[in-house]
Amino acid sequence: MSTLDTIPKTKKEALVEILLRLADDRIVHGHRLSEWAGHGPELEEDLALANVALDMIGHASSLYSYAAELEGKEDEDHYAYFRDDIEFKNIAMLELPRGDFAFTIARQFLFSAFSYFLYEKLIETTDDEQFKGMLSKHLKEIKYHLRHSREWVLRLGDGTEESHKRMQEAFNEIWMYTGELFDLDDADQVAIEHKVYVDVSTFHDQWKNLVHETIEEGTLTVPDSEQYMFSGARKGRHTEHLGRLLAEMQFLRRSYPDATWK
């Protein structure tokens, strides 16, 4: 068990834990997507990727803000800029380098599909009104991310020989990181009891169906799920990539902690 692995006791603690998990996923994903700005495969796609990145960072920011409010911290930046990699709770899939366009699309598709089902269930379940309001607003954008990435999986999968190969390789490469999406730990259990999280296994089949259908419609093969699956990032056991990502993201803010940057 890791030193940072503290199990929340109260509803408030459980909610903060969930807010940070959701937000960390989104800030890290947004960071990777934002690396495309100015480098996209076509001008129109540059705009699209920046839109998704902006949504991700925006979602993270509002989730962090709520956590800050609950914990009495100064603001959302506290969590994004002043925690170290072992304190970040994002899943590893999202911190992997941006890769080529196929990899970016594979990741966005798998994660958007997961977020879509999670948010739908969570909105139904939670009795925290502020949390619910936030999720409902974000869900509209997630639906668009899912549509965008799904359409690209089809086009790259069933496009040219090269795009087919790249799309297949992207799924093969990312597959060992998909297990973490559905990991459930002690903190989740407490959060589920307090109605601020849901049992993710309840929509595992829905996610699988959508993902498998899309991959197959794109004339691709679903990678083997019986392979080794990475896990532990939610509790700070990350890949080596997160440290560098955070070093870049946080360096300016941390170099001048007394300065105002808002």
Partner: protein
């Protein structure tokens, strides 16, 4: 330099409806490989600031436009048809006052 096949995506004209019940306006154009992507690209390009509530995309080569030579025969004849405009008619003074 890459000049094997022309992979330039076709051009689409984008129209948006600013508000419910309002007529559609031309926003500009985007490149896209097909209609679904044209719609998405139009959304990402021309609706970044809540500009509209609905979008149309039309392949640019499907637009039929009048030519400058048409200007005379198309539009001038309407100039002397004052009877098509409400200002052509007089309204009794008493009715005017009650407006």
């Amino acid at each position: 330099m890459s000049d094997q096949t022309n992979t330039e995506w076709p051009l689409w004209e984008v129209f948006y409806q600013p508000k419910d019940g309002k007529p559609f306006e031309h926003a500009g154009s985007v490149h896209a490989p097909d209609s679904e992507m044209a719609l998405q690209n139009a959304r990402d390009t021309y609706a970044r600031r809540n500009e509209g509530i609905s979008l149309w995309v039309v392949p640019s080569d499907q637009i039929v436009a009048s030519t400058p030579e048409d200007v005379g025969p198309f539009f001038d004849p309407a100039n002397d048809k004052a009877y098509r405009h409400p200002q052509f008619y007089s309204v009794p003074r008493a009715v005017k006052k009650r407006k």
